[in-house]
Assembly symmetry: C2
Homo-oligomer: 200 residues x 2
DNA sequence: TTTTATTGATTGATGAGTCAATCAAAAATA
DNA sequence: TATTTTTGATTGACTCATCAATCAATAAAA
């Protein structure tokens, strides 16, 4: 069986399995054995490649972040106007390959874990800041800086909130409606500034 | 030592301890021993009164929900106009006795747990619906029903999102600003409807 | 003496991490 | 080319620790 060059393959399989199992159980109280089983290898191998459970989990979060960033970069490159860029960022937050019940659950589990693990927390802070600054960049082209800051903060929060509410599978609102709601928030606030600006 | 009538005292102490420990560690992977120690009793006693760890956790969530509901009812009773009621609901979400880092962390942990435990999930759904319907009730007095629904959904999401972002302790925004942001969202959307309504 | 409160000691299960051993491909050597 | 050596991949079996849950025993109140 042993073929050379398996390391990257196995690493990816384990990270994917971790995500799936965490999403499934919704908790980081998943076992290495379970993850390994899903990846089709022995628990010992998981330790061999990652050293510890913590490390495997960190790697899993990193892969989520990477995916999200890539999706965002791609989406941003496809459009040029600030309006379209805003829209793109919002859409990616919801449509990204991440947006599946499993993945939402995994994010939740990570948020929870962030209270214990400083490293996990740091990674999530990266996500939070990135989302905010992506929104901010486009907003600054559309309204004064301090308004942009407030709107970015609100939009980021709304996105996260809709996300978390999806995790309960009780929201009377789907993905498309979530996108519309967030876009509406951003756009109507910009409009309001304009009409105020011209009125005053 | 044994004094009669200790049951309610111990139950409360254990629930409080559970919340504190969960908040501290940010995970439901807390041990009964740890909780019991914080409550100043033996682990065996915790089992005696609650039967299982799961049951103690459920009870802990229930107590959070109860507190939140009581705070909301009190705040609503103190005012009468729809505007003030909206404001009150928003303020309670942030100012409630619940709003401490520990408690935020505990909520996160519960969200995560909800993926595994149907009962925990049900309790959180109760919270989500309650928040939404509290907002909705006042909104319906201020704008058409279907607009009210959308705004309520958005505001609820924003509240949850600001909440979750606080848990990372990275937000460049404090509690007062969070309240202002949410109120601003609600009010400006209502205003917009009015100006559109009169314009059209 | 019956009931309530309480715990120490124990059990049984589970899970992270270790390690020595195995197996096959590649590289080196004859 | 044939043979040996090295190296990467892989696992079964094991250790050690932890923890939920149990239970029998004790001590005070009623």
């Amino acid at each position: 069986m042993p073929k050379v060059g398996m390391e990257p393959v196995r690493r990816k399989a384990l990270v994917d399995a971790a995500l799936r199992v965490i999403g499934d159980q919704g908790t980081l109280a998943v076992t290495m054995s379970e993850i390994a089983r899903h990846a089709g290898v022995s628990p010992a191998l998981a330790h061999h490649y990652f050293g510890s459970k913590e490390q495997l989990l960190i790697e899993t979060i990193r892969s989520l972040l990477r995916q999200l960033r890539d999706d965002t970069v791609t989406a941003l490159r496809a459009v040029s106007s600030p309006h379209d860029k805003l829209s793109a960022v919002i859409r990616v937050s919801f449509q990204a390959s991440q947006f599946a019940p499993d993945t939402i659950a995994a994010w939740l589990a990570f948020y929870s874990e962030a209270q214990r693990s400083e490293e996990v927390r740091r990674l999530l802070v990266v996500y939070a800041r990135r989302l905010r600054s992506n929104l901010l960049a486009s907003l600054k082209a559309l309204c004064p800086d301090d308004d942009a800051e407030r709107i970015a903060e609100g939009a980021a929060a709304m996105i996260d909130g809709l996300y978390i509410r999806q995790s309960l599978r009780s929201a009377p609102i789907g993905i498309e409606a979530s996108i519309a709601l967030t876009e509406d928030y951003v756009i109507s606030h910009i409009d309001r500034l304009h009409s105020q600006g011209t009125a005053a």
